[in-house]
Symmetry: C2
Subunit: 106 residues, 2 copies
């Protein structure tokens, strides 16, 4: 059996995206960040909806249509609609931020 | 923003199943157990595949086609194919066992 908090590289030059499971209209993905952010000026603009939960560490997201940042702690989750432009503004550089993202067609 | 570890009733006479998000071919569900098990002699036999992760507490699953129990700790995850008969044999009675289950059509 695998564990979401294991198998994390000691050195993490880039965010790590790992597909854990998928169906025709769903993709379950683990993302590990450690201080990584979306490159300046870039936005995620996704074809599918995403439901995402932060399981360890802390992070801040930014949505194009909201002025304030969204601060996330372990257990916090949200639903990002397809084409809702967003970016990862900040992740804790001192801890592994483990995200579980479910991408799906509505 | 909601949190997977909040909003858990103090008294938990039954397991709590809560749909957090869904699409046509996916359902994301939080399950909270505290000593609950699948009733004796009963098996889950599901139409859809399930990907499930235990996020707090400890538990033991039983699959009809395996003799040994599957012990789960926080972060452990597994993929249960549609119609793979299984049951929850044991959950920690002293802690909230928070599961995140993704049900999906392959």
């Amino acid at each position: 059996m695998k564990n979401l908090f294991q198998g994390i590289p000691e050195n993490l030059p880039d965010e790590v995206f790992e597909e854990l499971c998928s169906g025709q209209q769903v993709k379950i993905e683990r993302i590990v960040s450690r201080g990584h952010t979306t490159p300046q000026g870039e936005w995620y603009d996704q074809e599918w909806d995403e439901w995402v939960v932060l399981l360890s560490g802390t992070a801040q997201l930014k949505f194009e249509d909201r002025s304030e940042l969204v601060a996330m702690s372990p257990g916090d989750y949200l639903h990002i609609a397809a084409h809702q432009r967003h970016r990862v503004e900040w992740t804790d550089p001192d801890r592994d931020c483990v995200w579980l993202a479910i991408h799906f067609k509505v």
